[in-house]
Symmetry: C2
Subunit: 192 residues, 2 copies
DNA sequence: ACAGATTGGCTAGCACTGCTAGAATCCAGA
DNA sequence: TCTGGATTCTAGCAGTGCTAGCCAATCTGT
């Protein structure tokens, strides 16, 4: 029992090692630099070891993404907790979201841009993902008027934030007007 | 004179051949299927010929993207011309935009998702790109209230549309509520 | 009409990618 | 101490974008 227990523990540790190494490498040099060879060298194991833990490179990215969801949820929660009022909450969360996307581009890509076979809008979606969405939801919900569905409204607001982040990061939107655009988005989602 | 003229003409024709072949292949099987070898086979030339026309694969994608901008501009213009009223225009353009993104995913990716070194928010941006943005602008402009800058407001609205398209296409948003989300977005950008 | 220069396209190959089969090694249990 | 089974590694496959250098067809000047 104990021997097998130790083995499984070591295995789990190594799996974590892979994920954090992939994440650090991606954040430092972008996902293009995260090759299986490079990653294997980083964790000081041979390449095939990666495939005994993950089905492929995409699965590793997915694991990194899940880590990212948890962190983003925490940051959104902190931002919301720091202010009061519906408009202030929405602004705070929106700023926290876009700030996360700009500060951690590689992480953000793994979470929201890269094609990855994680379940999203279903029950089986990772808990951390629901947590992040829940933070957005709690900030958006108080702005609901009429019989709009809060969930759908949150999705729409989220899409706005996501569009701002990705278009800006790929050079399609100039960085300088970011604050203005964010204010406009929040303004149009909060009836005055 | 005439000989050189014919040569340049043939060259231009072959360049167009490359772009349309790349586009068709991408739309049929996705950008992953567009390899330099496959593309070369499609146009019945050898691989290196591609590099005498374009700096690399990214440059080919950029050329496809520019084609896409022109088409999108035309579709947006048609959508806007078919209706009257500010809210109706905005709805029509928004629907045309997201419809384009869903109907031509590969084209859309080349235009708005793939990292490509095209100038965007500067004077040197392709004319077709300005045309597409101009269509959005003309639909958004009438909704401006106060002293908001129409250009920045259009960028924000565009971000919303882009977010909806990309998140839905990557499976992050369920398809079924798309119409509802689109209506919500338009609704929040037109004060009743 | 012919020799030489030039252009253009091709063959072959480089360095790299994600991934895997099979050999080699290690290590718990007898 | 030996053995069987799991684990990890070496070596290699098929594919990628891209390029050097050869070879032939074409144009130019005599």
């Amino acid at each position: 029992m104990s021997i097998q227990g130790r083995r499984e523990r070591e295995r789990a540790e190594r799996e974590q090692l892979i994920v954090t190494a992939a994440r650090e490498l991606a954040e430092a040099e972008g996902w293009d630099a995260v090759t299986t060879r490079r990653l294997a060298a980083e964790i000081e194991y041979s390449q095939p070891v990666l495939y005994s833990h993950f089905k492929g490179k995409d699965a590793i990215m997915a694991a990194v993404a899940v880590q990212g969801f948890a962190e983003m949820a925490a940051e959104l929660r902190a931002a919301r907790a720091a202010v009061e009022g519906t408009r202030e909450s929405l602004t705070a969360v929106a700023e926290a979201y876009t700030s996360f996307g700009r500060r951690r581009p590689a992480l953000y890509d793994a979470m929201f841009t890269h094609r990855v076979d994680l379940p999203f809008a279903t029950q089986e979606a990772p808990k951390a993902l629901w947590a992040a969405f829940g933070e957005l939801l709690q900030a958006v919900e108080p702005t609901v008027t009429g019989d709009d569905d809060p969930g759908t409204l949150t999705e729409t607001f989220w899409a706005g934030l996501h569009g701002l982040v990705t278009l800006m990061r790929s050079g399609r939107l100039p960085e300088e007007a970011h604050e203005t655009r964010l204010a406009l988005l929040v303004g149009h989602f909060t009836t005055p």
